[in-house]
């Protein structure tokens, strides 16, 4: 009799729990079942003492199992409710991830800085040290020590900005060679990237302010073949592919023999354009074996040591690499240009 009621109550409450529409209804069901005063199962517990011990034990077990089943059902229902409530809240938190990102965008290194760094890393990995020299130079370091004495016609090749007091704005990064030899002595492997100046009118392919990377190696037996090796390594690294180059005689008093290394114009592919002055080739790299007079003036015995030197035009290189057809952009400070790199 009592067992029958327990089973009925269990079934009825399970149905009530599962059909409850709100947490209030659920609470009402819980109270109706387990309420201290009027709870249905409390009523049954009150009737328990009347039973025979045997029966009481049986009914008690049944009662416990029914209570547990209902409690589990209640618990499960509550969890579902909480989850649903959380889901509903999170659903309200929809945001549109296609909207733009916030915070400052990453800036951009100047393209010349970028290429210069790549080359610095490359040469450091080959055992070269990176040196700096002053932008305002003495006449001695810029010319005389490079085997360009006063009244040498080669001084005309480099239209010089002269400064009050007799110094000048360096016309090339080559004076850093001299400073490197003076400071470090042989053997020596160095590069010196930096700004150089020539007094010429500015147009699409000429600038009075430009960037070079000077390089020098002084050792026991340095040859043209070694120079070529470094130049080829350098250009392959810069352009990430083989470029067509040619080495031809060039005259620079600080090297002997001296060369001009040209690359096939990457802007026009060799057909001729403003950057290559319609020639299809771009002069990129004056280089050569260090003139023994230069070594001697810097206190190095040319019978014992020799070397190569090169002066890479970073400005030209950047223009070639990115297909920039007007040199003036580089110093324009125009973000529309700079943000492309």
């Amino acid at each position: 009799m009592l067992e029958q009621r327990i089973r009925e109550l269990e079934a009825a409450f399970l149905a009530r729990i599962s059909s409850a529409q709100s947490s209030e209804e659920l609470e009402a069901a819980r109270l109706a079942a387990f309420g201290r005063k009027d709870g249905a199962f409390n009523q049954i517990s009150k009737e328990m003492p009347r039973l025979e011990p045997e029966e009481r034990k049986r009914v008690g077990m049944l009662l416990n199992s029914a209570k547990q089943s209902l409690e589990r059902a209640l618990e499960a229902r509550k969890e579902r409710e909480a989850e649903a409530a959380l889901e509903a809240r999170l659903d309200g938190e929809w945001i549109d991830l296609t909207l733009p990102a916030s915070g400052a965008r990453r800036g951009h290194l100047h393209p010349i800085t970028q290429i210069q760094r790549e080359l610095e890393d490359l040469f450091v990995s080959l055992g070269f040290t990176v040196l700096d020299g002053p932008e305002v130079e003495t006449e001695y370091h810029n010319f005389d020590a490079l085997n360009i004495p006063p009244d040498h016609p080669a001084r005309d090749m480099q239209d010089t900005f002269w400064l009050e007091g007799g110094n000048l704005l360096r016309t090339h990064t080559s004076p850093v060679q001299i400073r490197g030899m003076e400071r470090l002595g042989p053997p020596l492997r160095m590069i010196a990237p930096g700004r150089a100046f020539r007094n010429e009118a500015v147009d699409a392919s000429h600038e009075h302010t430009f960037y070079q990377l000077e390089g020098m190696m002084v050792d026991r037996d340095v040859s043209v073949a070694h120079l070529l090796y470094f130049m080829k390594t350098l250009l392959t690294a810069v352009f990430g592919r083989e470029v067509t180059v040619r080495l031809r005689p060039g005259y620079f008093p600080f090297v002997e023999p001296g060369f001009e290394l040209d690359i096939r114009c990457l802007i026009c592919g060799g057909d001729g354009c403003a950057v290559c002055k319609q020639s299809g080739w771009v002069e990129l790299l004056p280089c050569g074996l260090v003139n023994p007079n230069v070594l001697r003036m810097s206190g190095i015995d040319p019978e014992e040591w020799n070397g190569f030197a090169f002066g890479l035009g970073l400005t030209r290189l950047v223009m070639m690499r990115y297909g920039i057809d007007d040199i003036r952009w580089l110093q324009s400070g125009d973000l529309r240009f700079l943000e492309q790199f």
Binding site: A104, R106, G107, H108, H110, I112, F128, T129, V130, D132, P134, E135, E137, P150, D151, P153, A154, D156, M157, F161, W162, L163, E164, N167, L169, L184, P187, R189, M190, F197, N199, A201, T209, D219, D221, S223, V224, A225, L228, Y229, L247, R248, P249, G250, Y251, P253, E256, P257, E260, Q278, S279, L289, N291, L330, Q331, S332, G333, L335, L338, E339
Partner: protein, 769 residues
């Protein structure tokens, strides 16, 4: 320097490379060729034509001319030249027919300019040859233009013979020397030459001619000179230019009848001496200028330009022909001083070969015989010179040469190359050549065995050398911490959203003043590109300001920076070059506060715990938004907003850091401090202060009162408004107290707090507790 292909081929018979190929070979072996241009393209079709009749065309200044054009038959042409007249022989070119002013014009009568023979386009070219004949000595040519810079070291390449020698060596042909020294007369000279200083004038050769008839040059000569960019003047002057263009030996012809006295003096100019030059200018000279003078005064500025007073004119009969050699640097100085570069000075400043002077005279004699029939030499060659020293031969070990080139080369080939370039080669020991340098390469060009490496290398072709990695001792290269620091700073700013710009090193005086700087403290460029770029920057701020004003035309907000050198004058030696990093944040909207604090954070990223200490604003700074940036007690830079009147619209904050100082201060090593094991206690205090009191100052006051148990102090917020009085604010800080040895008791913390409150009260500050 322009070279005529035809001329080169006359000197190198059988040189068969077409002009473009030849120019490429010259570029790869000798000197840079800048281009090849066609000259006289119409000449292969042009012929002399007799103008038979001329008939005006109504209402035009043109005429209808009927000409007998030899092999082209009788043609009718329309001609606009004022000198077109019947009976004249002119140059006819069959360029096709077209209708002009209702007349069918079949071909044209050409001017000298149209034919490429001269620059004259005032009328048609008048000829004195038979109708139907071709223009004598005038055929199409190709002009090879060589970059002057690439022959700076090659005095010999300033003439066709020198380039011809290269062409002969490249193509393995024979060079034909046009000079016949045996023509030179023997005996006493008809002119007396006196050289004051033979170091300035190592050689002066001269020859006197009489019976000269000055006349226009024949067409072939006019054409040849015109094609290489020289003006035709008359037969005598043109002859001197021809010899110069062929042999690289500048020459000058004086009208002997106008020379005062019977001697020529080569001497430094007297101070203030005046000289009227052929170009019509008058120059005032000084002793650094070498002159050619007669008894009265200068008749030539040595190696640069001749004088007007002794110029060849139509009445000249007797000529003194000068073929001299001058010291290169003296000519270069004079030419630079009077700002006059001539074809002669350009050659002399490259150090010409003194052996060449008499060769020039011999060549001139031969040419004058044809150009001025009846001219005859008077007396022998006047030839005054220094003892001409032969350069000592150079020893060239072949194995050394191979090591230099990094390529094996057969010693027979080495010898062959050098001999093709007319070096004298002997082999006193096996594998060692003794090389005699020809005089035209010996003045400056070739003195060392290294110079011979070039001769051999360029002729075998540098492209034949295989790149090869050197074998050297491995070594860690010396580091460059300053540069690394600059790179790291650049990276930081890029990561924080700044884009790197490069600005010029030049500023104008006005700009310098606008930024509160003194032009006198700037290094001045003596020869600036423009007058507004005459000062060297001592600050990067003006450049950054320009970047801001330019970019705000395209952007509402941006960040940029530059790393560059400030260059400061020093009383002696080189200037002080200080690397700076100058960064800016611009925003068209807002009140400018955000930019300043973001820059302050950027500064802190580079310099942890750097402080901004408000400072007196400069004229270009916002008067109440300027601070010194201090780090570890030293000045590291400046943080400010640009004075808004300097920016068209919006606000710009600027951070200007002395990277040298920052790098030096950053140099301290890091050391680990153990994490504290005992809990610390935190409490807040709020100081009431005047509205413009600096929170930073209040914070350090509070911190100094807190004593040794203070772990950290942190700004929380500030507040103004009720219940605070007008003009007051409350600034709150959170203090954390603790010890490495123990947990602090609440009494200890309470004492600290009380000490702060009392201390601040004593300083006149109320605290909100």
């Amino acid at each position: 320097m322009k070279f005529s292909y035809n001329w080169l081929r006359e000197l190198v018979p059988g040189a068969d490379a077409v002009p473009t190929d030849l120019s490429r070979l010259i570029t790869m072996r000798t000197a840079e060729c800048e281009g090849v241009e066609a000259a006289g393209v119409l000449l292969d079709r042009a012929c002399a034509a007799l103008i038979q009749s001329v008939e005006p065309i109504a209402n035009t200044h043109n005429v209808k001319a009927v000409v007998d054009a030899g092999r082209y038959g009788t043609r009718t042409v329309v001609c606009g030249a004022p000198n077109c007249r019947p009976g004249m022989v002119a140059a006819y070119v069959p360029i096709g027919s077209k209708v002009l002013y209702g007349v069918v014009s079949d071909g044209m009568l050409a001017s000298g300019a149209e034919l490429g023979i001269s620059r004259d386009h005032s009328g048609i070219l008048e000829l004195d040859v038979q109708a139907g004949a071709p223009l004598p000595g005038c055929v199409p040519d190709s002009i090879i233009e060589i970059d002057n810079k690439s022959i700076t070291n090659r005095p010999d390449l300033w003439g066709h013979l020198g380039m011809g020698r290269e062409v002969a060596a490249i193509l393995a042909r024979k060079l034909e020397d046009p000079v016949r020294l045996d023509l030179l007369p023997q005996g006493a000279a008809a002119i007396d030459v006196r050289i004051e200083d033979t170091s300035l004038c190592p050689r002066y050769s001269a020859l006197v001619f009489d019976g000269i008839t000055v006349a226009p040059s024949p067409l072939w000569l006019q054409y040849r000179l015109n094609a290489i960019g020289l003006n035709s003047i008359n037969n005598v002057v043109d002859m001197t230019n021809y010899v110069m263009s062929e042999l690289a030996q500048p020459m000058h012809a004086f009208d002997a009848g106008l020379i005062q006295g019977d001697a020529i003096f080569v001497r430094p100019a007297h101070s203030g001496e005046r000289f009227r030059a052929l170009n019509g200018e008058e120059y005032t000279l000084d002793p650094s200028n070498l002159v050619i003078a007669d008894a009265r005064g200068p008749i030539g500025l040595a190696g640069v330009i001749g004088g007007m007073d002794t110029a060849i004119g139509s009445s000249t009969k007797r000529v003194v022909l000068e073929s001299a050699n001058f010291q290169a640097s003296s000519i270069r100085k004079t030419s630079a001083a009077i700002k006059l570069r001539t074809d002669a000075s350009m050659r002399f400043e490259k150090a010409q070969d003194p052996m060449n002077t008499v060769r020039g005279l011999a060549r001139a004699m031969e040419l004058l015989r044809d150009l001025s029939p009846g001219a005859r030499v008077v007396g022998g060659v006047a030839d005054h010179k220094n003892e001409l020293t032969r350069p000592s031969p150079i020893e060239l070990p072949v194995d050394w040469l191979q090591r230099k080139l990094g390529r094996a080369i057969d010693s027979g080939e080495v010898r062959d190359i050098l001999e093709r370039l007319e070096f004298g080669v002997s082999e006193p020991r096996r594998g060692v050549f003794l090389v005699n340098v020809p005089s035209w390469r010996a003045t400056k060009d070739i003195t060392l065995k290294d110079d011979l490496v070039e001769e051999v290398g360029r002729m075998v072709g540098y492209d034949s050398i295989e790149p090869q990695a050197p074998l050297v001792r491995a070594a860690v290269p010396p580091s460059n911490p300053a540069r690394k620091f600059q790179h790291d700073a650049r990276n930081l700013f890029v990561d924080l959203g700044f884009t790197e710009v490069y600005n010029y090193s030049f500023l104008s005086e006005d700009c310098v003043r606008a930024f509160g700087l003194d032009p006198a403290q700037h290094i001045r460029v003596i020869n600036p590109i423009a007058s507004d770029q005459a000062l060297i920057r001592t600050s990067l701020v003006p450049g950054i300001w320009r970047n801001i004003t330019e970019n705000l035309k395209h952007r509402d907000a941006f960040r940029l920076f530059e790393v560059g050198l400030e260059i400061h004058k020093q009383s002696d030696g080189l200037p002080d070059e200080i690397p700076h990093l100058t960064a800016a944040i611009y925003d068209r909207h807002g009140n400018g506060e955000a930019g300043l604090f973001e820059l302050k954070r950027a500064a802190e990223c580079l310099m942890p715990d750097a402080q901004a200490c408000p400072a007196q604003a400069a004229s270009f700074e916002h008067p109440t938004r300027a601070a010194e940036v201090l780090w570890r007690g030293e000045k590291a830079g400046r943080l400010f907003e640009l004075r808004p009147s300097l920016v068209e619209v919006g606000r710009a904050a600027i951070l200007d850091l002395d990277l040298r100082a920052v790098e030096r201060l950053a140099g301290t090593e890091k050391k680990y401090v153990p994490i504290r094991r005992f809990p610390s206690s935190a409490f807040d205090v709020s100081v009431i202060a005047g509205e413009r009191e600096q929170a930073g100052k209040l914070q350090s006051l509070v911190a100094s009162l807190a004593g040794s148990l203070l772990e950290s102090i942190q700004y929380l917020r500030h507040y103004s408004g009720p219940p605070l009085a007008e003009g007051q604010k409350s600034v709150s800080f959170r203090l954390t107290a603790g010890s490495a040895e123990r947990t602090l008791s609440s009494e200890e913390v309470g004492e600290m707090r009380a000490r702060i409150i009392e201390g601040m009260r004593a300083l006149g500050y109320e605290l909100r507790v």
